[in-house]
Amino acid sequence: MRSSNSRVSLLATLLLAASHLGSSLNIPQVYKNTNLLRTIDASKAYVKETIAVIIENTSDKPQTEYYLPLSVPGSSAVSYVECKDKKESTPCTAEAVDDTTDYPLRYYKITLPKTLQPKDQITLSITAGITGALTPVPAIIGQSDKQFLSYTGAKFVPNPYFTEKQKTKFRAANGEIPDYTVFEQTEKSGYIVTYGPYDNVEPWKTDAQVDEFTIRFEFTNPIIFMEKMERDIEVSHWGNNLAIEERYWMTNNGAKLKEQFSRLSWATTSYYNPPTAAIKSLLFPLRVGSKDAYYTDEVGNVSTSKFRSDSREAILDIKPRFPIFGGWNYSFVVGWNNDLPAYLRHGKGDEYILKVPLLQGPSQSTSYGKVEVRIILPEGATNVKYDSPIVIHKEERFLHKTFMDTLGRTTIKLTIDNVVDELKNRDIIVTYDYSTISALRKPLVVLASVFSLYIVTAVLGRIDLSIGK
């Protein structure tokens, strides 16, 4: 019995190993990295990793695909990856490879902007936004204490190709870096810690021992995280209006409060405006011409907001009802209007072209867990197409019913997961057909209903209900 069991478990192990081998990525060794510079920018509430690399085709065949892994251990995740030819600024595409066997690496397949002939070189600049990679250490701080964040990364840049020379630069929010791992060739200058240059680094091996560095640096700013954000973009042809409303579920991912919140201490220190890890206010830079801004939460209108709109700028400055410390939550709604002609153009025939920012949001560095953008077009709009500036993870199309609708307004809902504010203020272009008949639907429906009311009253008025003579 025992031998039968052990045979089964051995078979299971072999099957598991075989499946593992089968799905792991087999990257051909067709390049070498002549020079690689990794810059890790932790001056925001998320990490922006930029890799500038000169690659050389060492094979005897032309190549078009280059693989690049990003290290995303634990709860960290890649928000976006963008790539370009650094010299000519030609964009190239970066596509996630569906393979997670090489934990903690997440591979991206980069299609080069041009075919790379044997012995030829190209300089790529690859930028990635990584969320969840910064941890507050200590995890609990006093109300007016400084906040420190910790980042851990591999000493050698994970790369499947041989690298002749590589260097890593870590950029902190300021020069206060109390702890950082020291290897050979480690240098700290101001707010930058440099590891390298290291020569002749072998390709990354999953099983090999990885040297890691940890840097702890001061970051007395809130780590603003929107667990969810719903954004409605509503087009009204009759009203000549583009209405935008954003609903936020916000939290501060910074260090939690050690003791109970002291309102007195908060009020007394707020006079000299010290740096704080709490969210005190949010500044929304809106497009020029925005008006009728409002800021509400579950209680109702929040009066601690300022809105300034002139010919140069439109800024909505909101102050939540209470400071939001680490681990605290707050949900709120902001909205505003714009005149439609700046965002909508009339194409050929019944076609309309809408160009609006897909995401806006506060000017403070922010990351979003889930973003749902609803683009609500007029009732009767058909043939809706869009061109999104960022990758959309889910798309839904439905009819949204609200005031005076009969059929419902044509709506597309775009869901994007794990977004960082680097991607905001990029325009989405939507085209749709909207005929005059569709536009007249609402007034005609009202006309018919009111007119039928008159007819009914006229007919009823002619009925003789008097008692006989």
Binding site: K385, T431, Y454, A458
Partner: protein, 98 residues
């Protein structure tokens, strides 16, 4: 799915969306049409003759229909107030999102 592009937007640079009535005129036009509709309704209610329907009821219906579509955009607060004042005004304010 073919995707529209920036070129399409640029090509339509000379034809921005032009509304029938600008935002600043929403209120006066809505008020005027609403007033015409109300007056004609009163006239019609005094003499509910079927013969008068083409003369009075149809223009009144058109006025009401137009009012709803050309009314100004108000915030939620005004809409709530309007709802309390009366259904007609509420419709006018609700026309916001049309």
């Amino acid at each position: 799915m073919s995707t529209p592009s920036l070129e399409l937007w640029n090509a339509a640079a000379n034809t921005p969306f032009s509304p029938i009535i600008g935002k600043s005129l929403h209120s006066p036009v809505a008020f005027l049409l609403l007033a015409i509709g109300a007056i004609l309704t009163i006239v019609f209610s005094i003499n509910k003759s079927l013969a008068l329907t083409p003369v009075i009821a149809i223009p009144a219906s058109i006025a009401f229909g137009s009012v709803i579509s050309r009314s100004p955009r108000h915030s939620h607060i005004i809409l709530t107030v309007a709802n309390r004042i009366g259904s007609v005004y509420a419709l006018a304010a609700g026309g916001v999102y049309v």
